[in-house]
């Protein structure tokens, strides 16, 4: 499956990364060659094979219903580039 300029721009939009035309072209080339390279997986017969999504040996860890994390709002907001009146502030979104 090959990408074209249209698809790479759509992907970039989904990933919220802005690409210049030059970058889009470069990435297009790179990614298409990578996609060609991974095509070889189609040589492998995977009928009746279950996907391996977890290699952990444990069962799902479950925790009790307790409030244990008491992080102050100061701590949570500490590293934010723009914080006002106790909130994270971002450019206004118009619904």
């Amino acid at each position: 499956m090959k990408l074209n300029t249209n698809t790479i721009n759509k992907i970039a939009k989904l990933a919220r990364i802005r690409l210049s035309e030059k970058e889009a072209d470069e990435f297009l080339k790179d990614i298409n060659s990578i996609l060609d390279w991974v095509e070889q997986l189609n040589e492998v017969n995977t009928d009746n094979v279950e996907p391996l999504t977890n290699i952990s040996s444990s069962a799902l860890t479950k925790r009790r219903d307790e409030n244990q994390d008491i992080n102050s709002s100061d701590e949570i907001l500490q590293n934010s580039p723009d914080k006002l009146e106790g909130y994270f502030a971002v450019p206004k979104v118009v619904e």
Binding site: M1, I17, I31, L41, S58, Q78, P91
Partner: protein, 474 residues
């Protein structure tokens, strides 16, 4: 002063032949002398002396008291900034300490600084960091070599004798390959043995914390201290961690060593195959039995990895959006504008490339063909190892397809760069443990590493075999 091992330094400290402060002074001097190698993203003398004050007061029973450790800048640390080698986290100061580094602190270790890495652990040469390339300490003047990646800074720190241990992470080979390039020991334990809590995530089902050291014994001491169950990491294994260093056993009589035929690849230099042969012969001489085995799906491991890892990364890196922490672009006209500018400015090329691939392989219409397919092939690769370990106890392979290459050699072709991981990626996909130890040199005198793999939770056997082989070079 050269300290060869943790036990040696510990003994000097216990015998009062050296103080914690003197240890700090020694290593600070060494680090300053090697500034040009660009090993550390963060190095601050005052922060080291602050630690000295605390460490001096604790009991000598703490197994790592005063031991200088470097920390890969992917681990969140409270007292030093954490950048992940990226502009997007340039001034990020976590208010929390990662599980692994907290465990090392608890044993009294002294963090000498945060080491350089490929940005967000994506790379094999430590040449994608926002903070510049790291130079392999074994380079000759004027011809800088790559230290390997992504944990190149940590591998180099140990090789340059700037610490006695350095933490790393290994997702597709990012500890083992730089260990080979820098001539040090590097171990990636079983997936789940070390908690991922507090390590900036790259590919969640593959990332594992591990350690670099000068020798196998030190690696076994350090891994014991770093490992352990963490209730805050749902993928963390609840197993008892053996006292690896105390159980080191060089008796390999009757141990079956698997030699996978698929790891003999065209185009790999003779020197590498020779080093491999030497290790095989040595093990035979020590009483081990050599088994020729097959891991049939080996060649599909790299493409499998380069679908799964970018897919997980594309999602894990979505949180870097300029809202809660890190870099935020200025003068954005809207929220989406802010996201796009922030992430374009904040991420480097390799990271962007992988995010784009990852986004694509998960996207509507392509999920089955790529991601799902790759997860199925992954199962086959993992099953190959399960079957193999019924016939053998350990598997022996070369670590990397070459010695350290010139720093900017493989820039233009991403696939060429990815091929560096050909011997290390399969084990990552299966979640099994692997170690790299230096075992020979190429014609230019550069170190070549060999890799030992075993089944889940069998680190002790890996340490044993590595310990035995290490003796060939003492």
């Amino acid at each position: 002063m050269e300290f060869q091992s943790i036990s040696q330094l510990k003994l000097l400290l216990d015998d009062n032949k050296i103080s914690v402060k003197e240890i700090a002074q020694t290593y600070i001097k060494k680090i300053k002398e090697k500034k040009d190698l660009n090993i550390f993203i963060y190095f601050n003398e005052d922060k080291i002396y602050d630690q000295v004050k605390l460490i001096e007061k604790i009991s000598n029973d703490n197994s790592l008291k005063g031991i200088p450790i470097a920390v890969k800048d992917l681990f969140c640390t409270k007292n030093m900034p954490t950048t992940a080698g990226s502009k997007i986290l340039e001034n990020f100061n976590p208010t929390y300490e990662s599980f692994v580094t907290q465990k090392l602190i608890n044993q009294g270790s002294m963090f000498v600084g945060k080491t350089n890495l490929d940005e967000f652990a994506m790379g094999s040469a430590t040449n994608t960091s926002y903070f510049g390339d790291t130079i392999n300490p074994l380079s000759n003047e004027g011809s800088p070599l790559a230290p390997g990646g992504s944990s190149g800074g940590s591998a180099a720190a140990v090789a340059a004798d700037l610490c006695l241990g350095a933490t790393g992470t290994d997702t597709g080979g990012s500890i083992r390959q730089p260990a080979s390039f820098c001539g040090v020991v590097g171990i990636k334990p079983t997936y789940g043995i070390c908690s991922r809590w507090g390590i900036a995530a790259f590919a969640s089902s593959l990332d594992q914390a591990g350690i670099f050291s000068k020798n196998v014994t030190d690696a076994s001491i350090l891994l014991k201290e770093m490992a352990g169950h963490d209730l805050r990491d749902s993928t963390s294994s609840n197993v008892k961690i053996p006292n690896f260093s105390e159980n080191l056993n060089i008796d390999l009589k009757g141990k079956k060593i698997g030699i996978p035929k698929e790891y003999t690849i065209d185009g790999i230099s003779d020197e590498i195959n020779e080093v491999w042969e030497q290790a095989i012969k040595s093990l035979e001489q020590k009483g081990a039995i050599i088994e020729h085995i097959s891991l049939p799906h080996t060649k599909y491991a790299l493409p499998t990895y380069y679908i799964i890892a970018p897919a997980e990364a594309s999602s894990n890196l979505a949180r870097y959006d300029g809202v809660k922490y890190g870099h935020r672009a200025e003068n954005a006209k809207s929220l989406d504008d802010m996201y796009e500018l922030t992430r374009s400015e904040g991420f480097g090329k390799e990271v962007k490339r992988r995010i784009l691939i990852g986004t694509y392989v998960l996207s509507a219409g392509y999920y089955d063909a790529y991601y799902l397919k790759a997860q199925k092939v992954r199962k086959l690769i993992a099953d190959d190892f399960v079957k193999a370990f019924k016939e053998c106890d350990l598997i022996l392979t070369p670590t990397a397809p070459s010695a350290a290459f010139p720093l900017n050699e493989k820039q233009d072709d991403p696939i060429k760069m990815y091929l560096n991981d050909v011997f290390t990626v399969p084990a990552s996909l299966a979640g099994i443990p692997g170690i790299s130890i230096p075992y020979g040199k190429d014609k230019n005198g550069l170190p070549l590493g060999i890799q030992l793999l075993s089944k889940h939770f069998n680190e002790q056997e890996i340490f044993n075999a590595a310990f035995a082989l290490e003796k060939d070079y003492e």
